[in-house]
């Protein structure tokens, strides 16, 4: 298992490098001069030159990239063009809200998806099977931020069961935290859960036809044991791969759904940065998001290795 983790970690290095080159080089693509953005049109040519010098904009591209990379590796992603906030601090400050929302929605998606998927596999063409199929089709067509709006207007505005807006940090008030992320997490998680249920169902149906399931029954093991011990573990193998991809999608969805509930997460940070063309901030957000995605992939790889002995390096 340690070997597996080591291999995966090594494989991430080139990917991270490429992402960093891509994100960095888009400064070069920017139509406007960052110096103008910072000091406005008023400044004299001299001031311009000073700022350029200070930002290292006169150095060749490669030098600037290596410089930036060197500092990025140490956790310094530069400072915002607009206020002297350190990018790393700003991103880390917003991260808990986005991550809470993402993982709560992953949890909902997994719990509902697994449950419904297994139930649908055991009773093909039952109501739960149809519901999963229907839900997956509809779920693909519903913008999750709109679903969020509807949930908010029903459960927050009309029924007042949940707060309509805002995010309460977990450390501050655990119950408040739970209430504040329930609706957005439902908005995100439910629509994906149906798709996941379909995955689980088809994997499960495939596994239940396997010889080893019949053999386990032939040993007189109970249906429950055969399904939950012998079949489910094997059915999860393809599902975990899908899940890894879905977590990335949910993370992206969280950036938008945050806006519905006025949650101050990475989404609003990114959108503000885009509006202001705050380059260091955008670079930092992308890089840190990629790190998060890679962390998720590593975690799913580990789970994959745990449930699928064949995937473990010999």
């Amino acid at each position: 298992m340690i070997k597996l983790v080591g291999q995966r970690l090594l494989a991430m290095v080139p990917l991270l490098l490429i992402v960093s080159i891509l994100t960095f080089s888009f400064t070069a693509l920017l139509p406007s001069d960052p110096v103008d953005l910072i000091i406005g049109d008023r400044g004299s040519n001299e001031q311009h030159e000073q700022v350029r010098e200070r930002l290292g904009l006169n150095d060749p591209f490669v030098t600037r990239y290596l410089d930036w990379l060197g500092r990025a590796v140490q956790g310094d992603l530069g400072t915002s063009f607009f206020n002297s906030v350190r990018v790393t601090d700003a991103v880390l400050l917003r991260m808990p809200a986005t991550l809470s929302l993402t993982f709560a929605s992953v949890l909902i998606s997994v719990v509902v998806g697994l449950g419904a998927g297994v139930a649908a596999a055991l009773r093909p063409r039952s109501w739960i099977d149809r519901l999963a199929t229907f839900g997956a089709t509809i779920g693909q067509a519903i913008p999750n931020f709109w679903f969020g709006l509807i949930l908010a207007s029903v459960f927050a505005v009309t029924l007042r069961w949940f707060p309509a807006t805002g995010y309460v940090p977990l450390g501050e008030n655990p119950l408040g935290w739970l209430l504040s992320i329930t609706l957005p997490a439902l908005a995100l998680g439910l629509s994906t859960s149906a798709a996941l249920a379909r995955q689980v169902r088809s994997a499960m149906v495939g596994v239940l036809q396997q010889d080893y399931i019949r053999a386990a029954r032939a040993q007189g093991l109970s249906s429950r044991r055969v399904i939950f011990r012998h079949a489910l573990k094997n059915a999860l193998v393809p599902v975990v791969t899908v899940l890894s991809f879905q977590i990335t999608v949910l993370l992206g969805g969280a950036l938008i759904v945050e806006q519905v509930y006025a949650i101050n997460g990475i989404g609003s940070l990114a959108i503000a940065a885009v509006r202001q063309q705050d380059i260091p901030m955008i670079q930092g957000i992308v890089l840190i998001l990629v790190l998060v995605v890679m962390g998720v992939q590593l975690a799913t790889d580990i789970v994959y290795g745990l449930i699928n002995p064949k995937a473990r390096p010999a």
Binding site: P14, L15, I18, V19, F26, L29, P31, T137, I138, Q140, A141, I142, P143, W146, L149, I150, S153, V157, T158, A164, Q210, D211, Y212, R214, A215, A216, R217, A218, Q219, G220, L221, S222, H230, K233, N234, V237, T248, L251, G252, G253, L255, I256, Q259, V260, G267, I271, A273, V274, R275, Q277, I282, I285, V286, L289, V290, V293, M294, N308, P309, K310
Partner: protein
């Protein structure tokens, strides 16, 4: 262009020759018609927005702000008193433009690059694919946000960003088509003289890229519509006051407490449109898929004649019988079809310590018989008659829980392919000890110790170490020994072995047969040995029952069966065996093929292939003791069993 270069496996190759116009089924139509109507409405709204809108979508009237639906404003008004219906209609134009721009751009960027790197290969390919992987690893919306940061917001710029984002999908698609076709073309063109591989390749690519491309386009259109709405909603896509469904939802979110209805029309419009596109895409994908794959010819299934007859007389009881099967009948219902008999009038018995070989060709019902005894024929199959008595208890009368208890303890089974009958996710040791713990209530420790003993007993060296191996780490022979150890772990009275050596290497087969023999000597269980191989049956069995079309046609002690077969089918099988040590390949002695279940003749089921068929053979035949022998062990299902002279095994 010569015919052989057109590969038959490529999508259009077969499609061109075998595609029949797919017959639209009612369920398909129920999807296609509404979806098409939705998209048509959308297009009409987009084209004639000015003419259709009752108001100017930008005309404000603060007096009428935030009204609900009324006769004047069918869908109400927004915060600035603008007519929602008019804005919806104009929004549909934005949706169409957005979908067309972003999808078109994605195709224009993705396909050429994909074709190029697929064709060129090497560094170009490597670098591009790494960049694509990097882009794909970032949440898509973030990629769009970054590109918008460079370009600035607004409908066209945002769609440019989405076009770049979704081009990765087209890039990968085009690349994979090139790579597949390249392989095909270069392999085939080696045989064709005078054809330039490059020209053929180009032709092939253009033929084959269309179907997946169309499907990908529908997927992309749906995704673009959702993404446009999302970007406009957060304020970096379409900019107000321009009316897009996304910006309208932005307004709706701000005035949620005052007029919740504002969120409904634009949201529903998005859902319905995306749904229509996706559903049409599904139908398209299915019909393209159908064109590619040759539909398996399913012959019409005639209603099988009801088999009404008294069947074979019950076999006389013997004292040492472990298992008695009397008049067993199994029906299987194929999907959407009438039940078809697969096993009928099945009677045999096995004494303690005895091995009965159930021999027949594939499809004769021998495996189903084995599974029926275990109560494991699965969904769609049903035991419709008969008795299965194991040591005095009728297994078929047991409730499901009783049968579950009997399985593993009293009756166990070894399957054909050991590599698939062991669970790949658990160590082999844990799969044996699980049975011991559950069926015999052993403690974890005791079960494990017993497991290692069992693994040792079936002849695996270093058992304690091997117990911790996963199935894929063992050879086929080794895995089958594990499966045997598991089946015998609770000392069953009956062991069913279903072709247990067929999947194994020839050199290992004999070892496994010897193992079965040894274990039977030691444990004294009865054994039902299912095989298609008479030579294997001769080696290990005491008696043999030959099956044909779901029934036993002859049963006899091994030596008698080989020396003096009484049924023409048995004789045919015997003469088809490789002769002696020379191993000459068998000749197809029996003309014709085994009829499949549901197509069995009503009389003697072997009659169409029998060289000795007589008029009397058109009636059902029972399994009866032959008159030439007084031996009750010999039964034959042939009306001419006594008067024929059949060739014996050599």
């Amino acid at each position: 262009m010569s015919a052989p270069t057109l590969s038959p496996t490529t999508a259009t190759g077969t499609a061109a020759t075998t595609r029949r116009r797919p017959r639209w089924r009612a369920s398909t139509l129920a999807v296609v018609i509404p979806s098409a109507l939705v998209l048509l409405t959308l297009l009409i709204c987009a084209l004639f927005a000015e003419a259709l809108s009752p108001y100017d979508p930008l005309q404000q009237s603060l007096m009428d702000a935030l009204q609900g639906p009324s006769a004047k404003h069918w869908l109400g008004t927004d915060d600035l008193g603008r007519d929602v219906l008019s804005r919806m209609i104009h929004g549909s134009r934005i949706a169409v433009i957005a979908a067309a721009e972003a999808t078109g751009l994605a195709v224009l960027i993705g396909v050429p690059i994909g074709l190029f790197i697929g064709y060129r290969g090497g560094w170009w390919d490597w670098i591009t694919m790494r960049a694509v992987e990097a882009i794909v690893s970032i949440p898509g919306i973030m990629v769009a946000i970054v590109i918008i940061a460079i370009l600035g917001s607004g409908l066209h710029k945002a769609m440019f960003a989405l076009g770049i984002l979704y081009s990765t999908a087209f890039l990968r698609l085009a690349r994979s088509v090139v790579l597949t076709e390249r392989e095909e073309v270069y392999v085939k063109s080696a045989r064709v003289i005078g054809a330039s591989p490059r020209r053929i390749l180009i032709r092939h690519i253009f033929l084959n890229i269309a179907p997946p491309l169309i499907v990908q386009v529908t997927l992309t259109v749906g995704a673009v519509l959702l993404a446009e709405a999302g970007l406009s909603f957060v304020g970096i896509g379409v900019q107000p006051p321009q009316a897009s469904w996304g910006t309208m939802l932005n307004t709706a979110a701000a005035y949620m407490e005052l007029n919740a209805f504002l969120a409904v029309p634009p949201g529903l419009a998005i859902v319905v449109t995306v749904l229509a596109v996706n559903l049409l895409g599904d139908v398209l994908r299915d019909s393209i898929g159908r064109g590619v794959r040759l539909p398996a010819a399913t012959p019409p299934r005639p209603r099988s004649a009801a088999i009404a007859r008294k069947g074979t007389a019950p076999l006389p009881a013997r004292e040492d019988d472990a298992l008695r099967v009397d008049g067993l009948e199994v029906m299987v219902s194929p999907k959407g079809g009438d039940p078809v008999p697969v096993v009928t009038d099945m009677s045999f018995r096995i004494a303690k310590g005895e091995t009965l070989g159930l021999v027949g060709e594939s499809g004769s019902g021998k495996t189903v018989t084995g599974l029926a005894l275990m109560g494991l024929i699965g969904a769609g199959g049903r035991i419709t008659a008969g008795q299965v008595t194991l040591d005095g208890t009728d297994l078929l009368q047991l409730p499901p829980s009783g049968l579950e208890k009997a399985r593993g303890t009293d009756i166990a089974m070894v399957f054909q392919d050991p590599t698939t009958s062991l669970n790949p996710a658990y160590t082999v040791g844990s799969q044996i000890s699980e049975v011991l713990r559950i069926k015999q209530g052993l403690s974890r420790r005791a079960a494990w110790d017993r497991t290692v003993e069992l693994i040792d007993r079936v002849g695996i060296p270093r058992p304690a170490e091997r117990a911790r191996a996963y199935p894929h780490e063992l050879s086929g022979g080794m895995a089958q020994r594990i499966a045997i150890a598991r089946a015998l772990s609770c000392g069953p009275k009956l062991l069913i072995a279903d072709e247990p050596t067929t999947a194994l290497d020839v050199t290992v087969q004999q070892e496994i047969l010897d193992l079965f023999r040894d274990l039977q000597d030691e444990m004294g269980m009865a054994m039902l040995f299912v095989t298609h191989d008479l030579a294997v049956a001769a080696d290990i069995c005491d008696r043999i029952a030959v099956m044909y079309c779901g029934e036993v046609v002859e049963t006899a002690p091994v030596e008698q069966l080989f020396r003096d077969p009484r049924h023409p089918y048995t004789a045919g099988l015997l003469s088809a065996m490789p002769h002696g040590a020379s191993g000459t390949p068998p000749l197809p002695v029996i003309p014709g093929a085994v009829p499949t279940p549901g197509h069995w003749p009503t009389g003697c089921r072997f009659a169409p292939r029998c060289a000795h068929a007589a008029p009397g053979c058109a009636l059902p035949v029972d399994l009866t003791p032959g008159q030439t022998t007084t031996n009750a062990e010999r039964l034959t299902r042939c009306i001419r069993a006594t008067d024929l002279t059949l060739e014996a095994a050599q």
